[in-house]
Symmetry: C2
Subunit: 196 residues, 2 copies
DNA sequence: TGAATTTCATAATGGTCGTTATTAAACCAC
DNA sequence: GTGGTTTAATAACGACCATTATGAAATTCA
């Protein structure tokens, strides 16, 4: 019983996600969030909790709605295809929406005041999970003979993530899709192959 | 005539620079700045102007004091040495001070509220200058025969900067020097050479 | 219809932000 | 010394921050 909720929680979370994407965690104010969601402050609090909880839910949604290409990529047959697929999708994601370029995780909190530290740590942890998955995938590639014996899966995973992060920064700085594709092509040209 | 300034402006700027380095532009408050510099707020205003002006002066100082390896790098004989030297120095800079890891320019403002937009643009512009210098250097390398005819100087410059930005993000996330060196090594392994 | 319950919008909370009056202290030229 | 001038420190400014108390509106069950 009781009064019904008059706004769509899913839509509100999507709108909040875009605000965080564009302005980062601390840069997004409740004035921004209420304007984007069309939902008054108290309603946001009752639906999502405080700002940190709202951001964490937006981050979860970001992974499942926008980073869904990551699990798909890991299933591709070769490590090179994995890397190429991820970079291609990341470029698209980083440049698709002019109003919120780059990556939510990177824009979110690179630096900020001390009270943003828990959120910063959450983003670092999420990044570390992705890195581990990549490393395991490349270890498998090495075991399968897709990667040469000299290949270092951990270094490859770190390298790929570095390029991805760098492209996210460049996208935030206004880089075009074409420029980022040239970066990805250069990164791929270094990819180790089995053939000696 | 008049009373003498009791604090060292240079030292105060250095201290402010470290605060911005660690917390970014918006994340750094005047409470942080006065504590780090030992200078009261009004004195900071009279010496440097407002917060944006202070940040810009800190950024200038950052380039001349910490990024002084960039002009040196451009004078090295080969493009590969240029890239290797820059990455090596960047890794050192990004991990040398545990209290302010990563890069001031990257940490400064990736995202933030709208009023930080002028500062964000200043950082983007500064980055663009560095990219242009790299591109010109690689064009020279191509003309000199150091780089093959198939090499794309603009793409190489963008790629190198992407890796540098990515390493800065990773340093902020706690990456060790060794991990970053593996990333740099992987990036260098892709570097085009004249010999077919 | 009426009591219970949930959501709604308005507005206020204490705190911190960047910025600046204000006043006391220190210095130089005369 | 004294007047003129610059800096120093305290404290205040309005604005905005995240968060929440408050009471009206809306719905369900009895």
């Amino acid at each position: 019983m009781g009064r019904h909720r008059e706004f769509d929680v899913e839509k509100a979370l999507d709108a909040a996600l875009c605000v965080f994407w564009r302005k980062g965690y601390e840069g997004a104010s409740y004035a921004d969030l209420t304007e984007a969601t069309g939902v008054e402050r108290p309603a946001l609090y009752s639906a999502f909790g405080n700002k940190e909880a709202l951001f964490r839910q937006a981050l979860d949604r970001y992974y499942e709605r926008y980073l869904d290409y990551l699990p798909k990529a890991l299933e591709l047959p070769t490590s090179r295809e994995v890397a190429a697929f991820i970079m291609s999708n990341a470029i698209d994601l980083n440049t698709r929406y002019p109003s919120h370029t780059g990556c939510l995780g990177i824009n979110g909190v690179l630096a900020g005041s001390d009270e943003a530290e828990p959120v910063r740590q959450a983003l670092i942890d999420a990044r570390a999970v992705g890195e581990m998955q990549l490393r395991e995938r490349f270890e498998r590639a090495k075991a399968e003979g897709d990667l040469p014996e000299t290949a270092k899966p951990a270094a490859l995973a770190a390298f790929l993530l570095a390029v991805l992060h760098g492209m996210a920064v460049q996208a935030k700085a206004g880089f075009s899709r074409e420029a980022l594709e040239a970066v990805a092509e250069q990164a791929l040209s270094a990819w180790p192959t089995k053939s000696a």
